[in-house]
Amino acid sequence: MLLVLILAPFAGSLAAICIPTDKATPAAWLSGGVALFCLATAAGLYPVIASGRVLRHDVHWLPELGLNFTLRMDGFAWMFASLVTAIGLLVVVYARYYMSASDPVPRFFSLFLAFMGAMLGVVLSGNLILLAIFWELTSIVSFLLIGYWHHNAHAREGARMALTITGTGGLCMFVGLMLIGHIVGSYDLDIVLSSGDAIRNDPLYTTVLVLILLGALTKSAQFPFHFWLPHAMAAPTPVSAYLHSATLVKAGVFLLTRLWPVLAGTDAWFWIVGLAGLSTLLLGAYFAIFQQDMKGLLAYSTISHLGLITVLLSLGSPLAAVAAIFHTMNHATFKASLFMAAGIIDHETGTRDMRRLSGLFRHMPFTATLAMVASAAMAGVPLLNGFLSKEMFFAEAIETHKYNILDTVTPYVATLASMFAVTYSLRFIHSVFFGPQPHDLPKMPHEPPHWMRAPIEFLVFACLVVGIVPSWTIGPFLHTAVKSVLGDATPVYSLAVWHGWNLPLFMSVIALVGGVGLFLIMKPYLATSVEGPPFFRRLEGQRIFERVLVTLSWKWARSIEMRAGTRRLQPQMRILVAVALLAGAVTLLTQGFKPAAIFLRSVDPAFALIWLIGMICAVGAAYQAKFHRLAALVLLGGAGLVTCITFVWLSAPDLAVTQLLVEIVTTVLILLGLRWLPKRIEDPNDPEIMTFSTRMRRLRDLAFALFAGLGMMIISYTMMSREMPETISSYFLERAYSEGGGTNVVNVILVDFRGFDTLGEIAVLCIVALTVFALLLRFRPATESLETPEQQRMQNAFDDEHPHRKTGDSIAEYLLVPSVIMRWMFPVIGMLSAFLFFRGHDLPGGGFAAGIAMSIGFILQYMAGGTRWVEERLRIHPLRWMAIGLVIAAATGLGSWLFGYPFLTSHAQYASLPIIGKIPLATAILFDLGVFSLVLGATVLILIALAHQSVRAPRAHLIRAARAAAKEGS
């Protein structure tokens, strides 16, 4: 049953969203039906609840973490559920007439139902976390409801503020509830409610309390978080009527009451809750007097009444709790009706400004009467429900609970606030319904449709009945609720209009008389004053909030983001290097690292000499890279060559071969790119060079670089000087031949032992080639490099100037002899490539080296003959070669599946052929063929794609020129 009660509104919400935007009536019927259904369900459960039973429904959700979809209904929850559904039903009826057809009404009802569901969820949650979930849901849905008229800036701001404040509070509360779980060991409400002492005695109690109160007080709009509520009045009135009477703001009160048994009774509770409640009570009432907007007045009055309830809860006495629960219900009835009345007036007259409204009694007597009765209830006039709970409040206020100043001032504050309440209630009635005939109202006022008034009638009737015969009407329900909260601590109380001549009554009289008097004094001022109370007008919570929010979440955030982050590359690189240095240094130095001792014995002078050259190359390249790019590239080549010699020297012929080939290709590649980097001329007057800060920056960079170099040197020296640990290499050395079928262990590792690495590595090459290709298709050179290079233009000009020469003769002449040699080199390089490929498994070489070598052969032809010349003669499909290579490599690996072996299992054997003799047949060779094909394709693709830019550039240039011409022409 409980599940149905919860799910029905959400289901209804989903259904409503599916109704077309312009169909208002079906949506209203749907919502009404759902609300009625829920109400009926709740009502049907009353007998069970009344018998003192607690209904539970458990659905396992996250049992390991103690989060279950547990629904729990006791008397208090029942009371709230009924309130939520009943007032919900009334508001639906009201909204049916209130909402204009031009609005997307189904969306309204959908949100409304969702909100009802969320609120019911809060009320019925039997698990703290579930409660937090529904709690935040109410915040989210209320955000959408308040912002329903989002074309209105006030609505947007109001919605946002409401969400920001209640949402934040909700998150704090969530942590608080989790801490309760930490203390208690369960989130289950039943268990939590029975663990009051454990919670109150826990060292984390204060933290928990503060966090939960942050949630409750923000939701209930308690000072100093109250300011969002008046701004939420930008919502459609049915929303206000619902959210601010029975539901949203009451959620805070609900939570305080719900957890009252476990949290209340301590000094901290008394002070925090009491202070917040008292100040809210007084300030809300005071502010309400000075509102000019009807809904604003009601909003502040709501704040004040919530403060009243909070004060009651703060006191920690069971009787006060009873009063709090009672007032919660009373407030819901009269405040809902008042909001609806205000909405009718707004709806029928087009304004809510009390300065413009007056004398409406003549035009809408029924509404006026109803509003007057409701106001009286709000003011605490006898024979109305508000009076009863207020009397209880006064009675509790004069009781001494704690000996401190707060407790002492409570009766006075209560009386004063009550006086203010009388004043603003009078003001509300008087300025709207009495006085002269209204003039220039946007609409001619008249009574609303009957069904729009019906909900108010019902509620006012309830006020009256409860106020006159409380114990017959509300009594049993209240008792059920109270009993479920207080349990054995339920005090004896009596619901009666007349308790005899006592101090509370005297206080009521003072409040009534004082309130009327105050109103009479202030009437002239209020008739014309501006919105907002004197003294506090400038101290508007909303403005402070906005300013703080903007400062924190925008200005400060941006400045911190700029300071703590950067969008420039250089600082990022510095940070990366600095962090790496720090990481290495801290790790080593904290453990007492000592670099290995320096031995000079094994230094080979020739080797040292070569590296002297290599180091000069490296430093030179670093030095020249800015202004002499070509020189830097040459020097880089020198360093690479020395690296290559090192590999030979130190027993790595494979590396030497590969490094050398890659070196050559890289050089050609960068040269190809250099054509598109316009020249950088050193300017001795460049201010960048001169400034002190630049010098300091360079000095710092130099220091970083030196530290990095030193670090690498020390670590590598230490590592190389140490004994080799027991390594997995010996396995490879032992089995490369017997199981891998090759004598070149490095190659066997590459194509067999760790062939998977190679597969990945060629895939990287493939990816890069594709990327380069794709990027170059959209390449646009800098304008200054668009022109054909100067040399070519000069040489072409030379050819053109001489009658017996054709354009291009110069280059043909220059390349006459070189191109002959380069062309004949093609098959030679091809043979070398084949050689490297075939012997790779046994001796230095392999598919990769072969592929690169072959690509150098191709590039040589391009250099000799030019792009067009080569492509007219040779079919070059690098993309295809790449694809084939990748497929061959993968397929070779997959082949082993056929024999039931894992991917890439290779098979090696020597086949004996007639005449030829034994030849090695290892599947790894096939894999290497794939590597070869891919490497060839990728390298050629990269180089050619870059080379093609030279062919493309003139074309792009032509297009641009043509376009410019067309522009001029038009």
Partner: protein, 126 residues
């Protein structure tokens, strides 16, 4: 595993001499890179190492391996052939581009291009 020290004296002497000679010539060639004053002069320097240097050292290698490993295939010949075939390409292109750049800079030390009159080469900077 063989070692160079296994080389008999009759082979060691020519090998060492060839090596020393080849490397000395190479060094002289490289010194030429420093000492020769003009670029065109320097263009000749590397040919020392690419001709005599390479040949001598390759010879040393041939003898050494032939003796040590007792086989008579001289694949070092390939190096000689390749060096002889490829060095001209570089040097030729370098020489030509130097010539070209000198010409457009208006240097009087280089011969004009043999064909036709001079184009207007003012205001050019490379």
């Amino acid at each position: 595993m063989t070692h160079l020290t296994d080389l008999p004296v009759w082979a060691a002497i020519p090998v060492c001499l060839l090596l020393l000679g080849g490397s000395a010539i190479t060094l002289v060639g490289s010194i030429g890179l420093i000492r020769l004053k003009t670029f065109y002069g320097r263009l000749h320097a590397p040919t020392l190492s690419s001709s005599a240097g390479t040949v001598l050292i390759c010879l040393a290698s041939m003898i050494a391996f032939a003796v040590l490993q007792n086989r008579w295939i001289f694949h070092e010949v390939l190096i000689i052939i390749f060096v002889i075939l490829t060095t001209p390409v570089t040097l030729m292109l370098l020489g030509q581009s130097a010539l070209y750049r000198d010409r457009i800079e208006g240097s009087t030390d280089v011969p004009r291009k043999t064909t036709g009159p001079e184009p207007d080469l003012s205001a050019i900077d490379i």
